[in-house]
């Protein structure tokens, strides 16, 4: 359990680190949009492929915070009925919820990795239309954030199971 606590702490700092990167990328998306609009309106010189880049950056800005969001227990659930249950039932439901999420995000992470690999190996059609940026690194980044989310869920699951055993 001591080791696990250490691992858990490590996961938390990685999750926070990824969320920090997501935050910085978010600021970059804002600045890119402003620069594109200013360039287009005042200098007739938009930044080529801004919409493409903003979309791809969203992968990072929008999903690298997934693990951090789980850490802060900020993913939405409806607790109207849950509040009425006994502690034990609550714990059971919590374990089931964590397990379902773990399966879901593990599948996404795994499949995202396969898709990234597939795109990496494609002879053509694996780059964006305007900037010709390869898709695979962005796919890989989504695989990483879903994977991080899955690891956080796994840690939560282990914690909850340990709690069951203690009782």
């Amino acid at each position: 359990m001591k080791l696990f606590t250490k691992v858990e702490r490590g996961l938390k700092s990685i999750s926070t680190g990824l969320a920090m990167i997501a935050a910085i990328v978010l600021a970059a998306m804002m600045l890119l949009t402003v620069a594109d609009v200013v360039g287009r309106y005042f200098f007739n010189h938009p930044i080529k492929g801004t919409w493409e880049l903003v979309g791809l950056l969203l992968v990072c800005a929008g999903t690298w915070g997934l693990g951090y969001c789980q850490m802060e227990k900020a993913h939405i659930s409806i607790t109207i009925l849950l509040e009425r249950f006994s502690k034990r039932v609550k714990l059971m439901i919590n374990i089931m919820a964590t397990f379902l999420g773990l399966v879901g995000f593990s599948l996404i992470s795994w499949q995202m990795f396969l898709l990234a690999k597939k795109y990496f190996l494609l002879p053509r059609g694996n780059v964006t239309d305007t900037l010709e940026l390869p898709y695979s690194p962005f796919m890989l980044s989504l695989s990483i954030s879903a994977g991080m989310m899955a690891l956080m869920l796994l840690a939560n699951l282990i914690r909850s199971l340990a709690e069951v055993r203690r009782k």
């Binding site: 949009t33 903003v54 690298w64 915070g65 900020a74 993913h75 939405i76 499949q111």
Partner: protein
């Protein structure tokens, strides 16, 4: 298992798990996947997970929501939002529910900047909720008006809702935008009346503040410039052709940042806190969106929405009865599913029949956008409710209770729009067609 059977079982299980308290995104992702696997096979279902996730997580159109969220984080961390509500308190605080009514007007104005209801609900939740809370407003009332008012984002132009309907029906998007203006203003008024009535029957909801002399009121006007500047920047930019509604999120965030910095209301630390907080909320939102789209694909392959709309079209009843059935269908489906997915499938099937009945296409489109708005806030499955729950500190049960009076107001509003079609068609018909 046949698709319809798998569908019905999947939907029942989804509602059950969500109500038991399993995270909404987890339920949608996993059940969507299992459902697809049953109908399409495991391999296609597995690859769907990746294809859908990447497509939606890298969608330029969704980037607008985190950027508007960032704007509202700046607005609420610096004093921009606080001052705007201080101003509102001085002017209308002495009326019961005055601040909530001011919020519904603010939602109407914000809708002119933002084409997405989800983005608007999240942004307004961040700005308006803490202020109403500070003034001791009941959280049911505050979140109710924010959730419902947020839906105005797609009725008052610009609107992703009208763009979607325009694509499906090939109506002039410009005319549809114009058509939403009067119904949008009326909706704000309906919400204000709802607030008035709620406060009349339960004065505890919104404690009034002591009236303030006119001199002080006028003096408080100077508080309005930061928020005014921000709105002028965004609305002016959109209608002046400087940027698109999708770009408005980034511009608004930048504008709020500059205003806060110039008034020294944002330190490096709070700036960073705004970014991190937005990254967290965005992740919550993207998880929901991924879940919704994965589940939507399952919903599509069950063919249930197709079957339902073909059934209605084939009924051969009086046109107003059909219209009523359609509205009831949307209300029910909107309680259980992502309403956008329902619309994409059903509009192409139902719309031609409604036009053949002699209904005005523009008017019918306005009614459809109203049905989307309602679907976004009806419990248990309301995308705006889920999103809002992520930015306010109230349990979703409070949201459910809070929004119901406004849904009733919505239904009255829709009834009015149906009774007087010219409310929707008057402005677009006035538009001079070259």
């Amino acid at each position: 298992m046949n698709p319809v059977g798998a569908g019905l079982a999947g939907f029942a299980l989804m509602i059950l798990l969500i109500l038991l308290g399993v995270n909404v995104a987890f339920v949608l992702i996993l059940l969507g996947f299992v459902g697809m696997a049953i109908i399409m096979g495991v391999e296609p279902a597995l690859s769907s997970l990746a294809i859908i996730s990447f497509e939606r997580a890298s969608s330029y159109d969704f980037a607008v929501a985190p950027l508007f969220l960032l704007m509202s984080a700046f607005v609420s961390r610096s004093n921009i939002g606080k001052e705007a509500y201080e101003l509102a308190r001085k002017w209308v605080g002495q009326f019961r529910g005055g601040l909530a009514m001011a919020t519904s007007v603010a939602c109407g104005i914000f809708a002119a900047c933002c084409g997405s209801s989800l983005a608007e609900a999240l942004a307004m939740g961040k700005i308006a909720y803490p202020e109403m809370k500070r003034h001791n407003y009941d959280s049911k009332l505050s979140v109710g008006i924010i959730a419902a008012g947020g839906t105005l984002g797609i009725l008052i132009p610009p609107s992703m809702g009208f763009i979607l309907v325009g694509i499906l029906t090939q109506l002039s998007i410009g005319k549809l935008f114009i058509a939403g203006i009067i119904p949008g203003i009326l909706e704000v008024i309906f919400y204000m009346m709802t607030i008035y009535l709620l406060c009349k029957f339960n004065p505890q909801l919104a404690p009034p503040t002591p009236p303030i002399p006119l001199r002080q009121k006028l003096g408080s006007l100077k508080l309005s410039w930061p928020v005014l500047l921000l709105f002028v920047l965004v609305i002016g930019g959109i209608y002046g052709g400087v940027f698109t509604p999708t770009e408005a999120g980034g511009i608004g965030a930048f504008g709020a940042l500059i205003i806060s910095l110039s008034r020294r209301q944002l330190t490096g630390k709070t700036f960073y806190a705004c970014l991190l907080d937005t990254a967290k909320t965005s992740a919550m939102m993207i998880a929901l969106i991924l879940g919704a789209f994965i589940f939507n694909q399952f919903l599509a392959v069950t063919r249930i929405p197709f079957v339902a709309s073909e059934w209605i079209v084939g009924l051969g009843l009086n046109k107003y009865i059909i219209l009523t059935i359609i509205i009831i269908m949307y209300i029910i489906l909107g309680m259980i599913f992502d309403i956008y997915a329902i619309m994409i499938v059903t509009i192409p099937i139902i719309f031609p029949t409604m036009i053949a009945f002699g209904f005005s296409p523009i008017w019918y489109s306005v009614i459809m956008v109203r049905m989307i708005e309602i679907g976004l806030v009806t419990p248990p499955f309301g995308m705006n409710l889920f999103g809002l729950a992520g930015v306010v500190d109230v349990p979703i049960g409070t949201l459910y209770k809070g929004v119901i009076p406004f849904v009733i107001a919505d239904l009255c509003h829709v009834a009015l729009l149906i009774a007087i079609p010219s409310l929707s068609t008057f402005l677009p018909e006035m538009m001079i067609s070259k």
